[in-house]
Amino acid sequence: MLYKTITKENFRRMIEGLMEDNDVFGPKWRDRDKNGDKVYRFLKLNDFDELQMDYTRTYSSPKNFFIPFKETLSTYDLAETEWDQQIRYTVHPRVIVGMRACDINALRKLDEVMVKSAFPNPYYFARRRNTVIIGLDHEPLEDCFCRSVNADVVFKGFDLFLTDIGAKYFVAIGSDTGYRIVDRFGGEEVSEADQDAFKSMKKRIESKFKTQVDVTIVPELMDLEFESEVWERWGDKCMSCGSCAMVCPTCYCYGVEEDVDLSFTHAAKQRFLYSCNLIDFAMVAGDHNFRPEPHIRLKYRYYHQFRGFVEAFNQSLCVGCNRCGVACLAGISPKAVIDDLNETEQR
């Protein structure tokens, strides 16, 4: 991996320069919550000063830039008995600034499913290839547990990754595009002092983790505690509202729907993100429901995240951002559920 540094003035010039000819997205503040704290969201930047480099977390993950909540897979012109199908994969280049290590790791997990396994997904692939990612390190928040699931550091999957070392950013370069960007906008060679600053910053980050989730035997527990009352306990609280899956950086379950327009001359096939918590997720024609109860659906969500994905790819699907825990009004968070599961096992 190549490393460089860039001064904060040059970083500003870099973002402004990129904004000239490309769509640049970054964390902006959108609302204030009832405590007066800012709520952030990845949005298009019109001005460098909108970019909040000191943001905490975005309420929803940047997953939607790669897997939109609704996406047209193909369109059709219909005739009386015939049709013409159109499929487009055109994505215009864009830049996302400020993605966290966990969110980039989330993309790498999605890459496993969407690019590297059977039937690569061209829609995702086109988006992934046309998105420049400029990541950004941060000190963990109170509830971040990315470290517990090995998602706190990232070595691949970005073009540039920045660590704030005072007056400069320490920049890891992950791609040819990334290299060209840093080069164009005044990247400098890494000095001894920069290295020291970087190391101490990394140590500082490492020392600040407050939340830990013990996932050591969770894959096994998912089977052993399959009938556990833990699930009912949390399932009773679950409102099957799907919020967790929507804000999650890795949840990718979806549904496909087709519809025609009122003139019955045009049709579209659309994909929309779904959640395995929703009541009809596993419902088949004739209304038979394989997962009729909330706790069963909740359990299968964890089963996929912490067991199924581990079996398939040797890593959990969860990246420890706790967005689901924040979004869940009922207070169901991976930390709470897994702690409960571990404790139940010990009893």
Binding site: N22, T81, S117, P120, P122, C253, G255, V256, E258, R307
Partner: protein, 302 residues
């Protein structure tokens, strides 16, 4: 100073312009491209079930399409929806594909209204198949309950087309009523031309029924089974295949030589939508055909 990032156009990749071949799962391709197929014949089997013979229009695509017994296709009516349907005809027939559709929901209901000459979109084939070649040299038990005869039928064709490869081949087929026994017009052919043994049973006989009455497991009394040299394919509702497989297990048939076809809701057929996902298993990719041992290890399979 600016920097315009060049667009990476995946459409220009050579694999994007090739005729879609769903058997090449690892190639990035136009996964949503459907083969346009004309309905050659639409045969009403029962008030609820209709058999469609469909032909892929484009000769190149038609030549590309090859399937194995147990696989399924996604059948689409543009603007209405898409459904997973198992292939019911002979897999060596490269002219047309046979699918049998039960009217249960929106898409199947609309497809039932299609007449010969109309068109549907086809993607596929998808999924695993019955390991027909591994069964070479052995006895084969084909057991179906109700609509389970539909995926099983392609295995029956296969066995016929490769008859010398197999020893005794027995079909056991049960349905609720005699009227619900599908493809009854073919039983004579299967017995006499295909040289298969076939037994049928119903739960609720009508006045014309002379055969046995009861559950499908009753038919086992009439069939000698050699547990050391028999493969079984069991298709039907979960409660039925569980009974049958447990019964065969008790007779000493290893679970890895029994194959079942699972049914789940599917939206993509490509291991992406997760609607058919149980843990790490995707019914559309790892199934629909599983050996019984895998099913036993699958939380929530039955």
């Amino acid at each position: 100073m600016t920097l315009k990032i060049p667009r990476y156009d995946i459409n220009r990749e050579p694999f994007m312009t090739q005729t879609p071949d769903f058997n090449r799962k690892s190639q990035l391709l136009q996964t949503e491209r459907t083969y346009k197929a004309r309905i050659n014949a639409a045969i009403q089997l029962t008030p609820e079930e209709k058999l469609f013979q469909i032909q892929i229009l484009d000769p190149k695509e038609r030549a590309q399409f090859s399937c194995l017994p147990g696989q399924f296709v996604m059948v689409e009516l543009p603007g209405c929806g898409e459904i997973a349907i198992s292939i019911s005809g002979s897999c060596s027939n490269h002219e047309f594909i046979e699918i049998c559709i039960r009217k249960v929901g929106k898409v199947t209901g609309m497809i039932h209204r299609l007449e010969a000459g109309a068109m549907v979109g086809i993607r596929g084939p998808f999924g695993t198949h019955f390991p027909m070649r591994e069964m070479n040299g052995s006895n084969v038990l084909l057991i179906a309950g109700g609509l389970g005869i539909v995926p099983l039928r392609s295995s029956i064709y296969w066995v016929n087309e490769h008859r010398p490869d197999y020893k005794d081949v027995t079909i056991l087929y049960g349905a609720r009523t005699p009227k619900l026994l599908l493809f009854d017009y073919q039983y004579e052919e299967w017995r006499k031309v295909f040289n298969l043994t076939m037994h049928t049973i119903v739960e609720e006989p009508d006045e014309n029924w002379t055969g046995p009455v009861g559950l499908i497991t009753q038919l086992f009394d009439q069939v000698p089974i050699d547990p050391d040299d028999t493969f079984a394919i069991v298709c039907g509702p979960p409660v039925m295949f569980k009974f049958v497989c447990d019964h065969l297990s008790a007779l000493g048939l290893p679970m890895q030589r029994m194959f079942v076809s699972l049914e789940r809701r599917m939206h993509c057929g490509m291991g992406k939508c997760c609607r058919c996902n149980v843990g790490s298993t995707f019914t559309c990719l790892d199934g629909p055909v599983f050996d019984y041992w895998s099913v036993m290890n699958l939380q929530e399979a039955i």
